[in-house]
């Protein structure tokens, strides 16, 4: 649409759509001067896909009348990586390493949704060890905290406040350190596997998480002190980007946005999975339908998550689950290799290597078959949804009876929730677009997949 101007700043030209202004930086005076000459008040601004406040590569096309937005259009697809297609050429277990990269701020949720769907297709949902389920719940709740912290941190930064950003990322680092200690990786861990989790908690993990549980409530309080009653913050967030329950239902909005509209709909309560029905926690709601309400829901959810993590720790260190397996006993499905922490990081357990390489030919054959061929999944389709930090994350998994997924589709909440941008932004001020988009908390990796 925009023609290239060589070396010229604030160039203008006549195009079929009207006058096009080329902005090259440090030339706003010239742009403003050129615009003030024309009688046309309507301005179409292209925001993104490289704009720092668009959460990655989201593109917004805003039609402005003065300072108010008359039309907001969203362009996505800049981060499309073909993960769903790629998975059709890998084994069921390898699929985990792909889905974890979709919504990169909530990898554990992607993995769990996918694994629960594969387990449903295999018909082994009830045979997944209780210890694995408790670890999954604990990891998901840790992940929920880290994801919400990024949401609040980047939101603060986008409104021009750097302290929430520093606080948020500092606290998130604590969660990522825990992830690194447990799984070996800070992000994209591929930790949850069909049939259980890849490795049991290492020695000392329970203590480290215990310390985290002691520190974290104070840190959340600090964040609350900083933002809850902050007039600069509340003025930018209260009554901004209003979307009520009717709008949420029509647009398929789930997660904190829906709960900020007053509906206590949380899949952990209404359609529990991984044993969530046995944990004691609340579903925070707000009825303001605005950006501030969504912020309050997220902070309160972090506090509820801490409660769940505490209960997980009690169970994991209790006599019932301590030392129990974390992978399904079925040798035809459970990953044969065990991981162990060596001097150079997490890797194949030396005991397992010694076993298959020097003592048992059958174990070697079994290992080779399961790792290269993988297991077969009976034909059929399954849809499993989990409550991710952004809403209902659904995995629609289809099998044709082979060793690879026939089709995997992720119903990512960011993708659906972004459809609310025109509904929440049109008619508002251009500055509120930033707040509205940030309150949706879209993660483009999940949107585009």
């Amino acid at each position: 649409m925009t023609a290239i101007h060589d070396g010229e700043t604030a160039g203008t030209e006549q195009a079929a759509e009207g006058r096009v202004y080329n902005v090259n930086g440090e030339d706003w005076d010239e742009v403003v001067g050129a615009i003030s000459e024309s009688a046309e008040e309507r301005l179409v601004v292209n925001m993104g896909p490289q704009h720092p406040s668009t959460h990655g590569v989201l593109r917004l096309v805003l039609t402005l009348d003065g300072e108010s937005v008359t039309e907001a259009r969203v362009g996505i697809g800049y981060l499309h990586t073909g993960i769903e297609k790629n998975m059709e050429f890998r084994t069921w277990t390898q699929g985990v390493t792909f889905v974890t990269r979709m919504d990169y701020l909530s990898p554990i949720f992607n993995e769990t949704a996918y694994c629960l769907a594969v387990e449903k297709l295999l018909g082994i949902t009830d045979r997944v060890p209780a210890r694995a389920q408790a670890i999954r719940v604990m990891m998901m709740e840790l992940n929920r905290i880290s994801s919400h912290l990024v949401a609040i941190a980047t939101f603060g930064l986008e409104l021009g406040a750097t302290t929430p950003m520093l606080f948020g990322f500092r606290e998130r680092e604590m969660v990522l350190d825990l992830f690194e200690y447990i799984t070996g990786l800070r992000m994209n861990m591929a930790y949850v596997r069909p049939g259980g989790v890849s490795v049991d908690l290492p020695a000392g993990a329970v203590d480290k998480i215990g310390e985290f549980l002691k520190v974290m409530p104070g840190r959340i309080q600090e964040m609350r002190k900083l933002l809850d009653e902050n007039p600069a913050y509340t003025r930018r967030t209260k009554d901004v980007a209003y979307l009520d329950l009717t709008g949420c239902m029509a647009l398929g909005i789930t997660g904190p946005m829906l709960r900020a509209a007053g509906l206590p709909w949380d899949l952990r309560k209404s359609q529990p999975y991984c044993g969530y029905e046995t944990y004691d926690f609340g579903v925070p709601i707000q009825t303001t339908c605005d950006v501030y309400g969504r912020y309050l829901v997220r902070v309160a959810e972090m506090e509820e998550s801490l409660k769940i993590i505490g209960q997980c720790l009690d169970r994991l260190s209790g006599s019932e689950l301590k030392g129990k397996p974390v992978m399904i006993e079925d040798k035809k499905i459970g990953w044969p290799s065990q991981l162990a922490l060596g001097p150079d990081g997490l890797g194949n357990s030396p005991d397992h290597i010694a076993h298959i390489m020097s003592t048992s030919m059958e174990a070697l054959i079994h290992h080779f078959k399961l790792v290269t061929e993988g297991f077969r999944v009976p034909a059929g389709q399954a849809y499993v949804a989990v409550e991710s930090p952004r809403g209902e994350l659904g995995a629609h998994v289809v099998s044709d009876g082979g060793t690879r997924p026939y089709r995997v589709h992720f119903r990512d909440p960011s993708f659906t929730n972004l459809q609310a941008v025109p509904a929440t932004c049109e008619g508002g001020m251009v500055a509120d677009v930033i707040a509205a988009v940030a309150s949706i908390d879209p993660v483009m990796g999940g949107v585009d997949r």
């Binding site: 073909g82 297609k85 297709l121 398929g252 389709q381 044709d400 119903r411």
Partner: protein
């Protein structure tokens, strides 16, 4: 009834079409894999009869009551599998079924979780499937609606008027599978660039990729590698 080729004490020969012979894509006589006589058949098309169990019967009853006489033509097949209810709906009745599912007090599927496409190239006359997952918050239930259309006439009516959230989901399914949702307000590509040719999630669309050389050995692209099929 016993015959020479089919004695009573053996299970019946499955009638499903053969998906493939052998393994690893070996077709010539030099098959040393030991799988030369393997015959793999396609999974049978499931169809469940009443009672479906659980709340599934209430959903079917509710839809039957709302639709009246046209129910038999609307719902072609009902599948209950792995604790999930799937209604295979004729495409010309899709919007009506969706409206009933959303509005009828006994059904009340207020929330749609969008559209997912699946390409079954061997399912002649119904190659392209659009799969809708609906959720009822009032009754806390789920249902899956599946619609198919032939590759030669890839048209399915749009349901954006019933569930506005399908706007982007239908665009995505069009983008990836080439299903044209008639009546969609602006059916354009959403993930792929506007001038992209082809629909990448179809099974006849190659994955792409280049062979990688590592220490003198060449590892083919993922879709060219030997596989257990």
């Amino acid at each position: 009834m016993s015959t020479e080729n089919h004695p009573d004490n053996l299970p019946g020969v499955p009638e499903e079409p053969v998906a493939r012979h052998g393994m690893f894509g070996v077709t010539d006589s030099g098959d040393t894999s030991g799988y030369g006589r393997l015959v793999v058949r396609r999974a049978p098309k499931l169809s469940s009869a009443r009672p479906y169990g659980g709340y599934f019967d209430e959903i079917a009853d509710g839809l039957e009551a709302a639709a009246g006489d046209s129910y038999a033509g609307m719902v072609e097949r009902v599948v209950v599998d792995r604790g999930e209810l799937t209604l295979h709906v004729a495409r010309e009745h899709l919007t009506a079924v969706m409206s009933h599912l959303r509005d009828d007090p006994a059904l009340r599927f207020e929330l749609s979780l969008g559209v997912s496409g699946v390409h079954y190239p061997e399912d002649e006359g119904a190659e392209l499937h659009a799969v809708y997952h609906l959720c009822s918050i009032t009754h806390n239930r789920r249902v899956r609606v599946e619609v198919s259309c032939p590759d030669a006439d890839p048209h399915i009516p749009s349901t954006v008027s019933v569930y506005p959230t399908h706007d982007w989901h239908e665009r995505e399914t069009y983008d990836f599978f080439g299903i044209v949702f008639d009546g969609h307000p602006a059916l354009t590509r959403i993930e792929m660039p506007d001038d992209w040719e082809g629909h990448p999630q179809r099974k006849d669309y190659p994955l792409g990729g280049i062979p990688v050389e590592y220490r003198g050995a060449t590892i083919p692209a993922p879709d060219q590698r030997r596989s257990y099929a």
